[in-house]
Symmetry: C2
Subunit: 197 residues, 2 copies
DNA sequence: CTTTTCATGTAACAAGTTACATGATTAA
DNA sequence: TTAATCATGTAACTTGTTACATGAAAAG
């Protein structure tokens, strides 16, 4: 798949990148990361497996949007640390100005919840929503911890988020995640209350 | 693609269905729908195009999980009204007991928001978040309207949602959507305030 | 007069997942 | 001793999107 993108060029010789590729470039704007790092960090924004990331990275490298340095390690396997190039930044800047596509949420719990009035028993429903509530709580714990870590870091000068800080982007995304799971947890708790009474 | 699923059988001769297939069966538990109807109604829960729905429906029909009646229309094209069969309900019931996979959210705005601290100008940021806020408001309007329509319908006996009603499932999903976009809108407004001050 | 809605389908392609492949270190 | 973590890659497959194909009615 990666190979195909590398070859697919517009008439002017401009490579066409997909959202995942722009996502990788976005993550690389502040720091250098290995393919392994990127695979983990991209999950909250755009779920993808390493088998999709690695070929895409070599493709971005061939196109000159990223470059890597091979880091030899003793205790762990060697790794390639990727950095965005000026061409990559330029490509990303163009994309940022394009209005984003509609967000896509795929959640099978919604189908199962839909069946609550018909073929799902309240018993099964309780199980489903208790599990999801627990999932939300674990996400909230994690995000809270991350937010606090940023607020205590050296690059975070004031109590309120500062636009000029490179941490600003990460901060508002953690905040987004927090609000998302907060709302979902409340929903789960309200549905559970309905299933009882 | 649909053809492949129709042929892929476990050793015991049991067809393997994907989430989209179970989603279609879920929607068919209360009412009969055409492929066209299903394509529209499934969007909020699991985005899919008609080119994916139609072959899947014929596949489900071949496996005996749904059945259709051909409805001839004068002013509009003829259509196939699909209904779930007993075998389909049994298949769905089995699936409902299986713990659901993690929800997958893919939203390119998140990447663009991430770049706010680095290469996105506050000007561009404002545009992005104002557009998303408007999108959320339109969704909230739509969902509010739908919720009110249910509350005023004949099948909705009391002021609070009733578990036994077949409307219960739809109601809690509309509620979920409402909370989701409410939280997202607040986030957009808070980020916009940060971009100003 | 052009676009949207209704309605169903297929073909070609892009995107995403699962499985295969390797291998050392470390924690449970 | 089993599993997880780190680290990179490929092959085979499934899932999802775009484009092609048709055509009448209604709304702007």
């Amino acid at each position: 798949m990666g190979a195909l993108i590398c070859q697919s060029l517009l008439m002017e010789g401009v490579a066409i990148l997909n959202t995942l590729a722009y996502g990788l470039l976005s993550l690389l704007t502040n720091e250098t990361y290995s393919g392994y790092d990127l695979t983990q960090r991209i999950q909250p924004f755009w779920p993808a497996k390493h088998s999709q990331i690695y070929p895409l990275l070599s493709c971005l490298e061939q196109e000159g949007y990223v470059r890597y340095e091979l880091i030899k390690q003793n205790d762990k396997p060697d790794k390639k640390m990727y950095a965005i190039t000026d061409a990559g930044k330029e490509k990303l800047r163009e994309w940022l100005a394009v209005p984003p596509a509609e967000p896509a949420l795929r959640d099978e719990l919604l189908f199962k919840a839909f069946c609550l009035g018909s073929i799902v028993s309240p018993q099964e429903g309780r199980q489903l929503f208790e599990d999801r509530a627990a999932y939300c709580r674990s996400k909230l714990d994690y995000l809270d911890q991350k937010k606090k870590a940023i607020q205590q870091s050296a690059e975070w000068p004031s109590t309120t988020p500062v636009l000029n800080s490179p941490m600003f982007g990460i901060y508002i995304l953690l905040d987004k995640g927090y609000r998302r799971f907060e709302a979902e947890l409340e929903w789960c708790e309200d549905v559970l209350a309905m299933l009882e009474g």
